[in-house]
């Protein structure tokens, strides 16, 4: 079966940085209108650097793998650099995603951008507690 790229299967089967980040400085939830899937991204920013990033959520292989990979991509990076991360950067890091599923792949990036914005204005968004 021509399936998903190995990197997607790997991150889906062995998610990195999954769970809550109790001392997060920014946290945001993004929902996919296509299926109702929800992902929460949490970051801890210290001295302008993403010191830690974690995610939680229920969803498809693509959105969960994307969230997992994203936490790896940004950990240890300066916020200024993370803010420049484009949709295309994430999609190519995932090895390419079929066009019918772009919204799944980009869901975590939307959450991340809002989490960083929340951090910026020191105003944390309040996600629904069931996520």
């Amino acid at each position: 079966m021509t399936g998903y790229e190995e990197i997607i299967l790997d991150h889906w089967r062995h998610p990195r940085n999954k769970g809550r980040l109790p001392d997060a400085t920014g946290s945001a939830v993004e929902a996919n209108p296509l299926c109702g899937d929800i992902v929460r991204m949490e970051v801890k920013v210290a001295d302008g650097v993403v010191a830690a990033a974690r995610f939680t959520g229920e969803g498809c292989a693509i959105s969960l793998a994307s969230a997992s990979l994203l936490t790896e991509l940004i950990t240890g990076k300066p916020v200024a650099e993370v803010e420049k991360l484009t949709d295309e950067d994430l999609l190519s890091a995932l090895g390419g995603v079929v066009k019918t599923r772009l919204s799944c792949a980009l869901l975590p990036l939307g959450a991340l951008r809002r989490a960083l914005a929340a951090e910026d204005s020191s105003r944390r968004t309040l996600p629904p507690s069931e996520v």
Binding site: M1, L34, D37, E58, A61
Partner: protein, 404 residues
């Protein structure tokens, strides 16, 4: 079913990702036979004009073709032409019903009874009506096996219940609800029965008088017809009482600057230029289905459903939603693979040319009832074959092997 039927559907010749298309999403929308495509095109080529207002020959001809289509749709469901209102589809038909009944029979403190298995199209209009009128919305629950809990429905029926709105065949569970029985009970307390027949009229013989509902909604695009056309059937005396949802041209008698009188049904409910070519296309779809025979359509759907259902139920990693007896089911099966998201199943099947749906199928409360965000759904129609169902099943096994 005669396998040559497939030749009538040009789109079925195409490939997807280099594989022959296996289209198993007819519950969302059906493919179109040449007869429908050509009927619509012929109307534009030969008889096109606006309906209802022209006095020239071409306009009269267009009007005749439009009204012929209405008569075909009416006889298809055992009704009179004057009782068939053309709408954009099921959604508009149900909104028309909910608006009209809200204006006429639902009073503050009254109740509207729906069910947990409704498509959003037969839920949100009633939420809005309830909110607007200060009425209460109640919902009959669904049993674990995916049937309506009739005891619960009975318990929730009372003199306060003004409307019972329910689906004939669930687009997720496939359940065929006992409409005649429910309608009789609803009428006993004086409630009006509104039926969402989007998944029944395309797939089985439907006689609106036998069903006993007061208003029945369905969509053309799910029954081989064009998009943008559907119908609301209503008891003539009830339609006569309802106000229009859309006001404007072609639905009025007399218009003054500060008042107007409505035309009679069905024109009253067809404000503005209607989807004329689409109505004519729907007439051609009804002719096509009638030629096959709705008994044969139903049998074919049952056969394919039985095949898919039996095979899916035999796989321990598959969960099937809804009744297990294909005899009491529509031509569709919703299922999930353990630990795998429905969208992943749908994407991998797509790469083999197989189109199924993954998602909540516009029935979020129902999915919540079963504690799941989404399901996969394979649905069948006249052009599908047992070989296609088998291809789907073996591809599904490969998905399971790849992702388990």
């Amino acid at each position: 079913m005669d396998a040559r039927i497939r030749n009538d559907f040009p789109i079925l010749d195409r490939t997807v990702h280099g594989k022959p298309l296996v289209y198993l999403d007819s519950a969302a929308t059906s493919m179109k036979p040449r007869a429908v495509i050509e009927a619509e095109a012929d109307f534009y080529r030969e008889s096109y004009a606006n309906v209802r207002r022209g006095v020239y020959a071409l306009a009269a001809e267009a009007n005749e073709r439009y009204e012929e289509a209405r008569a075909k749709v009416a006889s298809f469901i055992g009704a009179q032409p004057g009782e068939v209102v053309f709408t954009r589809g099921t959604t508009e038909a149900l909104n028309l019903a909910a608006w009209g009944l809200g204006e006429t029979v639902v009073e503050p403190g009254d109740e509207i009874l729906v069910t947990e298995m409704e498509h959003h199209a037969n839920l949100l209009p009633w939420q809005e009506t309830a909110r607007r009128r200060g009425a209460r919305l109640a919902a009959a629950v669904v049993t674990p096996s995916g049937e309506l809990d009739l005891d619960d429905l009975r318990a929730k029926l009372s003199r306060r219940t003004k409307v019972v709105a329910l689906v004939h065949v669930s687009n997720v569970l496939g359940t065929v609800n006992p409409v005649a029985e429910i309608a009789a009970e609803a009428h006993r307390v004086g409630a009006i029965v509104v039926l969402d027949a989007a998944q029944s009229v395309p797939h089985m013989p439907v006689d609106v008088r036998e069903l006993g509902a007061d208003l029945v909604a369905f969509s053309g695009h799910k029954m081989l017809g064009p998009t943008g056309i559907g119908a609301l059937w209503g008891r003539a005396d009830l339609l006569a009482e309802l106000p229009p949802l859309l006001t404007g041209g072609e639905m009025v008698r007399e218009v003054w600057l500060n008042w107007a009188t409505w035309d009679e049904p069905p024109a009253r409910f067809e404000g503005g230029t209607p989807p004329i070519a689409q109505a004519i296309g729907l007439g051609a779809a009804v002719d096509y289905l009638t030629r096959i025979g709705m008994e044969a359509v139903r049998r074919h759907g049952e056969e394919l459903t039985a095949l898919a259902l039996g095979e899916l139920l035999a796989r321990p990693h598959v969960t099937v939603y809804g009744p297990h007896d294909p005899g009491v089911r529509g031509a569709l099966v919703a299922f999930s693979l353990a630990g795998i998201h429905p969208h992943d199943v749908a994407t991998l099947l797509d790469q083999e040319g197989i189109a199924i749906r993954g998602g909540h199928h516009c029935a979020q409360p129902l999915h919540r009832r079963f504690g799941i965000p989404a399901t996969c759904r394979a649905s069948f129609y006249v052009y599908n074959t047992p070989e296609e169902v088998k291809r789907f099943l073996s591809a599904l096994d490969r998905v399971w092997e790849a992702l388990r």
